[in-house]
């Protein structure tokens, strides 16, 4: 009894103490909850008055705050309820992380995945490109442009525009717009402008619907890289000349201001436009006057009225939403994805029914920094490459969602048949290594005289222990696990490899400035330039010389033979000759190991839930729509064919 009293007393005095401290600190900075919840202590005479004051103030503040909160909640609830009915909205996950910065295709930091993703197969929801790439058959399909043709010498590319194409303000999309878009990119040196101005000389407007792209010519009078020029058609969004001029005017033609302009009032040509964008979600609404209803294009409107992307905290949150049917199309890596339908019996499917479940087209690869002592030795690089247990990476890190290197042996090309035609794999057989060949790797190192002399279990090169850091961004779980398996391989061959998973931004700094030992990055996906873009990714000296290199050859590997081949490929049209070139590049890649593919992977993950919508593209449906999440390149055709589940 006595002890209980003591406890009560001590509790009382503690709360009194807290209160007096609060009072002493003044009302403005007090934590409202604590003060309002400790009225029991107010009997303490010394602090009574001040405490009461504080409490009153605090309560008022709280009331105000609650009112505001309720109002806000009401607003959002109302907006949610009557604006995006579930059966008119297609929900996405795994594309947009964090809040949108701007709607400006020239900006380097838009963080606006749904509206602006410009690559070999650009996202066609808000802005549109001239043509759409279809990775199923490797062809370009008309969008704003209706046809394109090169002249005989491959110096001029003529593009015809679809006369029906309109901006969402009702005016026509003209050749002037196309040319002005490019000129603006170049004028303000956006990354697109900087990239393409090496290969494109100028745009010439012939008439309203015809534009001619003049390629930059080399000393031999041929275009430097016609592949890259063709790729412009599928990659770069067309913007309206009149609108661009408005932006330039309001920014005073200041390059930084133009590139950072938020463009929230943008004039676009795509089927959707901005509706809601905040830190909770991004919603696009269909433009019912979209020009694509014309018979010359789709002949109808896309089916979902709204495209919505809730901003999830992490992959796990997105995955839960997918399995509960709150997300229709999910671009996320899901461990053991087959269990969603095999065990949980959910209406979820992927592109393929069986492993690898997706259309694998890119190769996440580890790059060795050849400027580091030790890694400049090809034996060390090759030994690490040989010792890695790739089957373990594919089975556990990738959860079986990748074909193995036995099925698709290593080379510079990806696992797509169209690309594999370019390499003669019989010639590469001697250079391939078997999975986790620790013995072979040890023998190779012993032979090269790279041995452990001081008995610490780690081999030395020039008296220095071979000790490297393998890095990739934190939280990229399949990549993190892959790097761990690489590190485990190092342990087996006497090379100390530790993993290092920094925040993505500091990883980018390391990778783009060649400040790493071993790093991991993914090869370009399918596009008009393939397999050339993959060859560039592994070997390009030009990339290595960039001050901030996002493109490839991060380890600064220089090889004159490879460079000569890279220069010859773009203008070569003879297929046999090309095959010879790519085979030769593959030989160098496997022999010298400047970079090693760790697995095959889809460009985009693709899992769909058929609780609300159905008729999504699938591998066996014969519709030739690629699994690009209903948004990228020709994959957007899926939006016109979706149906509601009965």
């Amino acid at each position: 009894m006595k002890r209980n009293l003591q406890k009560v007393m001590s509790l009382l005095s503690v709360s009194a103490l807290t209160l007096s401290m609060m009072a002493g600190c003044g009302g403005s900075s007090t934590d409202t909850t604590t003060t309002t919840e400790t009225p029991a202590a107010t009997e303490e005479a010394s602090v009574e008055e001040t405490a009461e004051e504080t409490t009153e103030e605090a309560t008022e503040e709280t009331e105000e705050a609650t009112e505001e909160a309720t109002e806000e909640a009401d607003d959002t609830a109302a907006a949610d309820a009557d604006s995006t009915p579930r059966n008119e909205t297609l929900y996405f996950a795994g594309q947009q992380w964090g809040t949108i910065n701007d709607w400006n295709p020239m900006s380097a930091n838009s963080n606006n995945a749904m509206a602006q993703t410009q690559n070999d197969q650009s996202r066609e929801l808000v802005y549109e490109t001239l043509f759409m790439f279809n990775m199923n058959d490797g062809k370009l399909y008309p969008l704003l442009g209706s046809e394109y043709s090169w002249d005989d010498g491959q110096t001029e590319l003529t593009v015809k525009l679809n006369p029906d194409a309109k901006w969402n303000d009702g005016t026509q999309v003209t050749a002037e717009d196309v040319a002005y878009t490019y000129d603006t990119h170049v004028k303000y040196q956006s990354s697109t402008g900087a990239d393409f101005s090496t290969y494109i000389d100028s745009f010439e407007v012939v008439d309203d619907t015809t534009v001619v792209i003049h390629a930059k010519l080399g000393d031999d009078g041929k275009a430097i890289n016609p592949l890259k020029v063709t790729n412009y058609l599928a990659q770069v969004y067309v913007m309206q000349k009149a609108y661009l001029q408005t932006v330039e005017e309001r920014c005073g033609e200041d390059p930084d201001a133009v590139k950072q302009d938020s463009m929230e009032d943008c004039v676009t040509s795509g089927p959707y436009k901005n509706y809601i964008a905040n830190d909770q979600k991004v919603v696009l609404i269909r433009d019912d006057n979209y020009w694509g209803q014309a018979e010359s294009m789709w002949g109808k409107l896309p089916v979902p009225k709204y495209i919505a992307h809730t901003i999830y905290k992490d992959n796990a949150a997105g995955q839960v939403a997918l399995s509960q049917g709150e997300v229709d199309v999910c671009q996320q890596f899901i461990t053991d994805v087959q269990n969603l339908w095999l065990e949980d019996d959910l209406p979820i499917s992927t592109w393929l029914d069986d492993a690898p479940y997706g259309m694998c087209a890119v190769m996440p690869s580890m790059f060795f920094n050849v400027e580091k002592p030790g890694l400049d030795q090809k034996e060390v690089r090759r030994a690490i490459a040989m010792a890695v247990d790739y089957e373990q990476i594919i089975a556990s890190a990738m959860s079986g969602q990748s074909p193995t290197f036995d099925e698709y042996p290593r080379s510079v090309v990806g696992p797509i048949d169209a690309e594999r035609e370019y390499v003669d794999f019989d010639q590469l057989e001697d250079l391939q290594w078997s999975n986790a060949d620790v013995e072979g790797a040890n023998a190779l190192l012993d032979e090269a005289g790279i041995v452990d002399t001081d008995g610490d279990g780690i081999r030395e090169y020039n008296g220095e222990n071979l000790s490297f850091k393998a890095e990739c961004p934190t939280g990229w779980s399949d990549w993190n696990a892959s790097m761990e398996i690489v590190a485990a391989a190092g342990k087996n061959i006497g090379i100390d490899i530790t993993t290092y998973f920094p925040e993505a931004s500091s990883f980018y700094d390391d990778m783009t400035t060649c400040n790493f030992d071993i790093c991991m990055w993914s090869s370009p996906g399918p596009g008009m330039m393939n397999p050339y873009s993959k060859a560039m990714f592994y070997f390009s000296e030009e990339y290595a010389k960039l001050a901030s290199n996002w493109s490839g050859n991060f380890g600064h590997y220089m090889n004159d033979d490879a460079e000569a081949i890279l220069e010859a490929i773009p203008t070569e049209t003879d297929k046999d000759k090309l095959k010879e070139y790519y085979t030769e590049l593959s030989k160098i890649l496997l022999d010298e190991c400047p970079a090693v593919a760790l697995m095959y992977r889809p460009t985009l993950f693709y899992a769909v839930n058929e609780s609300v919508w159905t008729n999504y593209p699938a591998a066996d449906d014969g519709r030739n729509i690629p699994p690009t999440d209903c948004t990228d390149g020709y994959g957007i055709a899926a939006l016109y064919e979706l149906e509601l589940v009965e």
Binding site: A316, T335, P347, Q392, A395, S396, K469, A481, E610
Partner: protein, 414 residues
Amino acid sequence: MKNTIKQIFHSGKFLFGFVIFLFILLMCIIYPIFVTADPLQMIGQGNFFKPGTYVSVEESTLEKSYTLQLPKQFSKLDAVLDVDTRAKIQEFLIKQAGVAESEIDVTDAEGLVSLWQANYDPNTKYSGLTSAKRKALKRLDSDIKAAMKDSGVIVAEKNEEGELEQSKVIKDTDYININDVTKKTFILGTDNFGRDVLTELVAATKSSLKIGLLAGLIATAIGLLLGLLAGYVGGLVDNIIIFITNLFTVIPSFVILILISYSVGDKARGIIMVGVIIGLTSWPWTTRSVRSQVISLRNRDHVNLSKLSGHSMFRIIFTDILPYIASYVVMAMILQISSGILAEAQLSMIGLGPATTETATLGLMMQWAMQYSAHLNGSWWAYFPVVILIALISFSLNLMNTGMDQVFNPQLRD
């Protein structure tokens, strides 16, 4: 001393905590004697294999088989056709195949199957179905086919001409003795890397205990030293030490922990380093409480007598003050060990723990289980035992602490 220990062991709480802790400790010592495999070896190729015994399929087919006439508990068909499946079949037959509802009797398995076989064609694309449903029906069809098949699987091998030649037929009454074939038991399954969870768990507990012990020792040593100095010497020394201690108390120690771990880099982050870092950030409260105890002790008569006798400061501290707070310090250390283990788990969970390929720790196991969403795909064995073990360790340590408190603290004594 002997008497004190006896007293401590009389406390039920202490004894209970001690037994749990001893059990964990013994597990860490004894298990590795029997299982010598490398806890980090990636055995399973794939994520999260279920707990159980895995037998070699190849050997099982080749091994001498025994015929056992075991009564079958259920027919294969009944196993496939549960209530939901029957409803599915019925729905398909009515909607897609156009069979009249009156013709279907869901209770008659054989009849249902013959209707199914007559009406379902796996190569037809039925309209009005989502592709997920179409795929589910296809799987169901192959299940039914498998269940309807006569017993017996044919094993065939390629002969010299490359043609298949039947070498064996396996009947459904064929059994093998599990002792005849190579097998591997994963009591707690495997993790996302295909490592044996139980072996890893034991190794992880060991390293977590090491980290906790090291962190606890360091934190207590620093805390004790500073507390004694501040409390006994007083004055300026006290002011300075308390100033520093206050600084560290105000800044959340976990934040300092993250900052130090991050700046140390992965390379140096082994078990010892992590232990030291945790120890270096968690001493302030020990300092504060030791100091207050010392302040109340230093004006006691026996201390004053020692002073008068001209004993040196160190002698007074070690003979006249330390023994009086020894029990308190031991209890504080137990709490420090417990919080050190928790701190390691927290650090590893945000990726700042020791290297995955070098050591196994409880926090790292949790981190990888989370990254591969074990909690979403029902792979409880990858994270639940870890959680239980962390809870047990800190529970047992805290229990021991409370037990000792009851013995040493006269106010709490019954």
